[in-house]
Symmetry: C2
DNA sequence: AGTTTTTCATTTGTCAGACATTTAAAAGTC
DNA sequence: GACTTTTAAATGTCTGACAAATGAAAAACT
């Protein structure tokens, strides 16, 4: 009986939904101005604060932007790849951290997706992308680099690989998978030896991309995945042992 | 000089950001209750409506949920895969439609990502996933099926393929790529002949997945990509011709 | 006439206070 | 002890107001 009315939606939620539907269905187009808050409150027969709450909901999703002053108002926002990118990353990050997603699951997803990009990137990467990859490899070899900085560089390297495919949709979709891994990677303590292995594989990948050899890049990515998984297992085991010492 | 203060963020945006950061950085954990709106307005030294606007922003991103009554309030929400899934789809759909992303770009991304799933799906798919795929193939062969229904079935088929990989992170990341294509696919008019080709390739994919042959599934996906791209080119050309007739 | 300055109306941003509604816990009753 | 009633706390909503930004029209000036 409880679920007959799951959750009578708030007025502001209903209004937000109505406007969102109008945008998604194309009844409101990009840069079109919405009625003023006063007009909206008349149309929906609610108070202005309620309308405002609805508009803030939409603003939070980058669906509208607001401007003050005469001829200001709320405008349908062109959702940019940049905005979508950022949203994707925070959503993915939270998703992984809040649901206790196992490292190996996230890692598998990440490398599977990257392998999807490798062949395209091998074909199309610009000199810039390649230069970024090589620069990051160099950075990763610097002594005295913290683990966190190493991970950040790792992400930059892989993003260059993905962006090399020259497909913005692909870059957008991959953003979450690549960047959201960083907090998980930070669990790992990278020894000098393990860094050397990772860097060597990065080198193989960069070389393969340079020679437009997608197959080789995929193979190196697979090797890197196995190496990463092994490192994570080791970190996890070490952590378990520490905990056992603490409790026992 | 204009960019020195790019856009003085609203109070409600600032407060939302502060709380969001607290959640992302783990200072607020799942199911933890936030201070009441009255307390928040004191802490941030703003009025309750402003606090409420901030909370609505967070609610729009499924970061919090609110409950009325005594011992009610705003609680940090566990971002579920389901919620994230839904958000991803609407974001991806809007992104594609608002930025005039070319069909071939979106299509390329979609199939590249699906090929990343195919080997995993071939290894792990359950009987259920396979049954869904076969059922959709059968549905696609039914006469009198509208183009829209055909596309819907196509999406269901491909989602089963992706879900077969048994990696929820992968399923989540792929959701946008697969589902957001549907509006684009609906441009295409499927002739009986073209449907037959698509169905035949679906059959090849399903068989490959059944026999745990990831390589064959990938090959069939590539063939399906080429077929889809060809159909889209045809639809585009036909549209261009119609327009020329209208204007000329 | 042309240009600059001022005024003004519009619109969002913010605030204060009030009431309605929901809900769980406390108090009261049998 | 089990049930009912009361109560307090919290969100949901409304009204009315003022502040601040901004573009356009009006006015003033050259």
């Amino acid at each position: 009986m409880k679920n007959s009315t799951p959750q009578p939606e708030d007025l502001s939620a209903r209004i937000a939904r109505a406007i969102r539907d109008a945008i998604v269905e194309g009844r409101l187009i990009v840069d079109e101005r919405l009625p003023s808050e006063a007009e909206l409150s008349e149309q929906f027969e609610v108070s202005r604060p309620t309308v405002r709450e609805a508009l803030k909901r939409l603003a939070a999703q980058s669906l509208i932007r607001t401007q003050r002053g005469a001829s200001g108002g709320a405008f349908v926002n062109r959702l940019s790849f940049e905005d979508a990118h950022a949203q994707q990353i925070t959503t993915s990050t939270l998703l992984l951290s809040m649901n206790d997603v196992r490292f190996d699951v996230a890692c598998e997803a990440r490398f599977a997706l990257e392998r999807a990009c490798a062949p395209l990137s091998a074909q199309r990467r610009s000199a810039d992308h390649l230069a970024t990859m090589r620069a990051e490899i160099h950075r990763q070899g610097q002594p005295g680099l913290t683990d966190e900085a190493f991970c950040t560089s790792d992400v930059t390297f892989h993003r260059a690989l993905v962006d090399g495919a020259g497909n913005p949709v692909l870059s957008y979709q991959l953003a979450g998978a690549v960047e959201a891994m960083q907090p998980l990677m930070n669990m790992i303590t990278f020894t000098t030896r393990s860094r050397e292995k990772v860097i060597a594989l990065h080198q193989v990948i960069a070389d393969a991309i340079a020679e437009q050899d997608g197959t080789a890049a995929c193979a190196a990515l697979t090797a890197l995945e196995e190496e990463t998984q092994a490192l994570a297992r080791k970190a996890l085991a070490a952590r378990a042992e520490t905990q056992q010492q603490a409790t026992g």
